[in-house]
């Protein structure tokens, strides 16, 4: 029983990490129809940058900010510089992000090397707390906490503010938004930056929860994609539920059926897609 | 036996009957209580100011939008619940205001696709499609009819606007429809292209029922015998072309006594 609670907690905290990635990805897709395949690489590079800052300053908060902000800036460059060139052409946009991920992955290998790197959270976060029958690492609580805070902020911003209304309108009907004179280009850039920022943030957190290594980018991207497929493209609610589904199933799978670990991800995803090709909360296919 | 079935048996079912059709989008009523009958073989027009709901009406007739209430009968069959694909198989054809052709494919291939849509060959995998004589013949005939023969090997993306619109009509006709909905065939055409389009439309087979949305009154006058006028989603006038042209109320609607 104790093990089960532990596994469940693991699954939920992993879900938190996945949510940080999945939410950005699903927003970028929902609003801009861009499948950002560079999202995993953004996670990795953001994490590496956070690691570097941590190694230099031993200040975890600074490392977190460095990872997130650097990727936010990268997002501006990517969106303004490259993505604009192929605006409105989904296949090209997708292929472009794919190319970017190739380059990022190789450059990251060159700069940060092939050895796995990780970050240790400072002070109290490095210890564990007794919760009921189990002792659980504080760093995991921290990650979960960050994810929940981000989720709440996103919910408030997107659901309640004017800026959020613009985003929601854009997701629903892009041509209409254009016609209404909403500065859609700026909204696009803002959402893109938000996505890369969150990915970078997730990267630094991932550096402590997991480790960073060449290939971590595609691994985490796969998970983020399953989250978004299951939850439905463009839906934040879907990202939450999807992250929980994926996080829990993955952990249970690894714990109880290690030989078929990916099946525990595969089967539910396929079943959900057979039933609802648009994902749990996605818009239905025309 | 319903009146429609009796008519059908008599072989003279009207091509289209709309029976108190409504279409609502959330709080907005785009089509409100439209009823009309178009006889088989008729040449009919639907006109009205922008935003009157003409294209929405077409979308409801073709099945791309479901009617919120009311019934639609196609050649005596109630198609209200049918998908647009099934309505196509019942003889409904349609062109679009924003052309929907296949840009990277040549004119020949565009037509070939449309002709193949009906044929059993469409799953043939090991034989070049052009070698099917019946398909190639149908393609050549359509190209000829629509003055596209010199452009057969050009990608559709290369065609002039007028030629694209002609291709659009050709594609619809390839399916051998019994009722053809034409959505603004003259839109965006230069005067010369309009003349060609007019001639082309007049040459369409006489047993084909035609319903056309248009703004160009010359095109309407030349091609169409009777007209329904739509405004704010409702039928506000109908009659022969001559009657409508003389109708003061219609002129007012167009001259925009309201904004």
């Amino acid at each position: 029983m104790q093990n089960f609670i532990q596994q469940t907690m693991n699954g939920v905290t992993y879900a938190g990490l996945l949510f940080l990635l999945g939410s950005g990805f699903t927003l970028i897709f929902g609003l801009m129809r861009i499948v950002n395949l560079a999202h995993g690489s953004t996670y990795l590079v953001g994490g590496y940058i956070g690691y570097t800052v941590m190694a230099a300053t031993n200040n975890f908060i600074l490392a977190l900010l460095a990872g997130a902000v650097s990727m936010g800036i990268f997002g501006v460059i990517l969106e303004r510089g490259l993505m604009r060139q192929v605006r409105g052409q989904p296949i090209s946009e997708l292929l472009l992000t794919m190319g970017v991920s190739f380059v990022m992955g190789d450059l990251a290998l060159a700069i940060f090397g092939g050895n796995p790197l990780s970050v240790r959270m400072p002070g109290g976060l490095d210890k564990s707390t007794l919760i009921g029958p189990i002792t659980y690492p504080n760093e995991r609580f921290f990650i979960l906490g960050v994810a929940i805070v981000v989720a709440v902020i996103l919910y408030v911003v997107i659901g309640r503010t004017r800026a959020g209304a613009m985003i929601r309108a854009g997701v629903d009907d892009r041509e209409m938004v254009d016609a209404l004179g909403i500065p859609i280009k700026r909204v696009f850039t803002a959402v893109f930056i938000l996505g890369t920022f969150l990915a970078g943030l997730a990267g630094v957190l991932g550096a402590s929860l997991l480790t960073l290594y060449p290939g971590a980018d595609s691994e985490i991207l796969t998970y983020a994609l399953v989250v978004v497929i299951v939850g439905g493209m463009g839906s934040l609610k879907g990202a939450v539920i999807g992250s929980l589904v994926v996080g829990l199933l993955d952990n249970y799978g690894k714990a109880y059926f290690p030989e078929l670990a990916y099946f525990s991800l595969f089967a539910p995803m396929v079943l959900i897609l057979l039933w609802r090709p648009q994902g749990l909360f996605g818009k239905s296919v025309a | 036996m319903s009146a429609n079935q009796a008519q059908r048996d008599a072989g003279s079912a009207p091509a289209l009957v709309l029976d108190d059709v409504h279409r609502r989008f959330g709080g907005v009523t785009a089509i409100s209580g439209v009823s009309l009958t178009v006889a088989a073989g008729a040449r009919h027009g639907i006109i009205g100011p922008n935003g009157a709901g003409k294209t929405t009406l077409f979308n409801v007739i073709s099945g791309e939008l479901a009617a919120s209430s009311g019934n639609i009968h196609l050649f005596g069959h109630n198609v209200t619940r049918m998908s647009s694909v099934r309505r196509v198989s019942r003889g409904l054809g349609r062109t679009y205001q924003i052309t929907r052709t296949f840009p990277t494919l040549t004119v020949r291939e565009n037509l070939g696709l449309a002709v193949n849509g009906l044929s059993r060959h469409k799953f043939s995998m090991l034989r070049p499609w052009k070698t099917y004589g019946d398909v190639s013949a149908a393609v050549a005939e359509l190209a000829d009819q629509f003055e596209l023969s010199p452009r057969l090997d050009s990608p559709a993306a290369d065609l002039s606007h007028g030629e694209v619109r002609q291709l659009e009509v050709a594609l619809a006709l390839a399916l051998k429809p019994r009722l053809l909905l034409l959505d603004e065939p003259g839109a965006g055409l230069s005067p010369g292209e309009r003349v060609s389009m007019r001639a082309l439309l007049k040459r369409l087979p006489s047993d084909l029922t035609l319903i056309m949305i248009e703004h160009d009154m010359e095109l309407v006058r030349d091609v169409v015998d009777s007209i329904h006028v739509l405004d704010f989603g409702q039928v506000v006038a109908n009659g022969t072309t001559a009657e409508i042209q003389a109708d003061e109320k219609v002129r007012q609607i167009y001259l925009g006594s309201r904004s």
Binding site: V35, L94, F102, S218, Y262, V270, L274 | F102, L126
Partner: protein, 328 residues
């Protein structure tokens, strides 16, 4: 086009290194061409295509391991590919165009993950050895140079079949689906069925490439179907030319060239390839093959011949992409 086939037969005279190299170009070329049927012609970009090579390769390796004779083993492998394609296709073709891309990525990763974890079948990260090449009657293929001919024959046959498919009525319908899926529906086509068939056909030829690969490499491991390799296949198709059938072969040649030769002089050759990929997407959607075709056209015009059908594939493909971008 025929000239290229002739050229391909010549390398047999080279050293064994070049034979081996050309072999891998042919095998990956076959995989890339099979992907082109799905991606270039039908417009469904699959990021998990290498997994079909994987299933084919693992299939034959496993079948041989459990003691099947070569011919039934090949059958076993191809059936495995078929079953995988039937299952994956069932979900994959019913989703939206862009969801398809990421779904296939996930599916490809799942196959890779299985290759890693299902140790009893796949040998985990140790992989599976392939105990030598089969001999058919008088033909012994243990030497690379003789195996080369077998691969060449299979390659040509496969591409021939794919060429026929792509030029058939069915192939025409695939291009129609790529250009304007909605219109295809109104023309009376059951788009899902067509996509499903395209998916299966594409997968099967990928599986054939897998069998050829297993006998070439004499060893199968998960690395061959990891994310990077899936990406590489897409690179081959895009850089070579989407929707050109032959382009991906050129693309395979370019990528293998980079892997084998450029890597010696340029440590960051993968970055260079990535940049080339980006530039292709931005400025040359017709890929290298499209570029060659344009060059040929330009040369012919200069020689005085009247210009033939105008728009280059790349421009038209961009328009299709833009049109689908506003619709979706």
């Amino acid at each position: 086009m025929v000239a290229l086939v002739v050229a391909a037969i010549i390398p047999q005279l080279g050293s064994s290194f070049y034979v081996s190299l050309t072999l891998s170009v042919l095998i990956y070329g076959l995989l890339a061409i099979s992907l082109d049927v799905l991606a270039g012609y039908t417009g469904l970009i699959s990021l998990g295509h290498a997994s079909f090579l994987g299933v084919g390769a693992y299939g034959i390796a496993y079948a041989l391991k459990i003691g099947l004779d070569p011919i039934p083993a090949i059958g076993y492998a191809l059936v495995a590919v078929l079953v995988t394609a039937l299952l994956f296709g069932l979900v994959a073709v019913r989703v939206r165009e862009l969801t398809f891309v990421i779904l296939t990525l996930a599916l490809g990763q799942i196959v890779w993950g299985l290759a890693y974890r299902w140790v009893s079948v796949s040998g985990g990260d140790n992989g599976l050895p392939v105990p030598g090449r089969p001999s058919f009657g008088p033909f012994d293929f243990s030497a690379d140079s003789s195996y080369y001919y077998l691969v060449l024959v299979v390659f040509v046959l496969c591409v021939l079949v794919m060429w026929l498919v792509v030029h058939s009525s069915f192939g025409l319908s695939l291009r129609g689906i790529r250009d304007n899926e909605a219109r295809m529906r109104t023309l009376g086509y059951n788009v899902v069925v067509h996509k499903y068939l395209a998916f299966i056909i594409s997968a099967m030829f990928g599986g054939v490439a897998g069998v050829l690969f297993a006998f070439y490499n004499l060893y199968v491991s998960p690395t061959m179907i990891d994310f990077a390799h899936n990406g590489t296949v897409v690179q081959m198709v895009v850089v070579g030319g989407l929707g050109t059938l032959w382009g991906p072969l050129v693309g395979a040649g370019v990528i293998v060239f980079f892997q084998q030769f450029v890597s010696i002089y340029v440590p960051r050759w993968e970055t260079v390839l990535g940049v080339i990929f980006i530039l292709t997407v931005l400025f040359a959607r017709g890929g290298l093959w499209g570029g060659l075709a344009n060059l040929g056209r330009w040369l012919r015009v200069r020689a005085g011949e009247p210009p033939t059908s105008g728009a280059s594939t790349s421009q038209a493909l961009t328009e299709v992409d833009a049109a689908s971008g506003s619709g979706d």
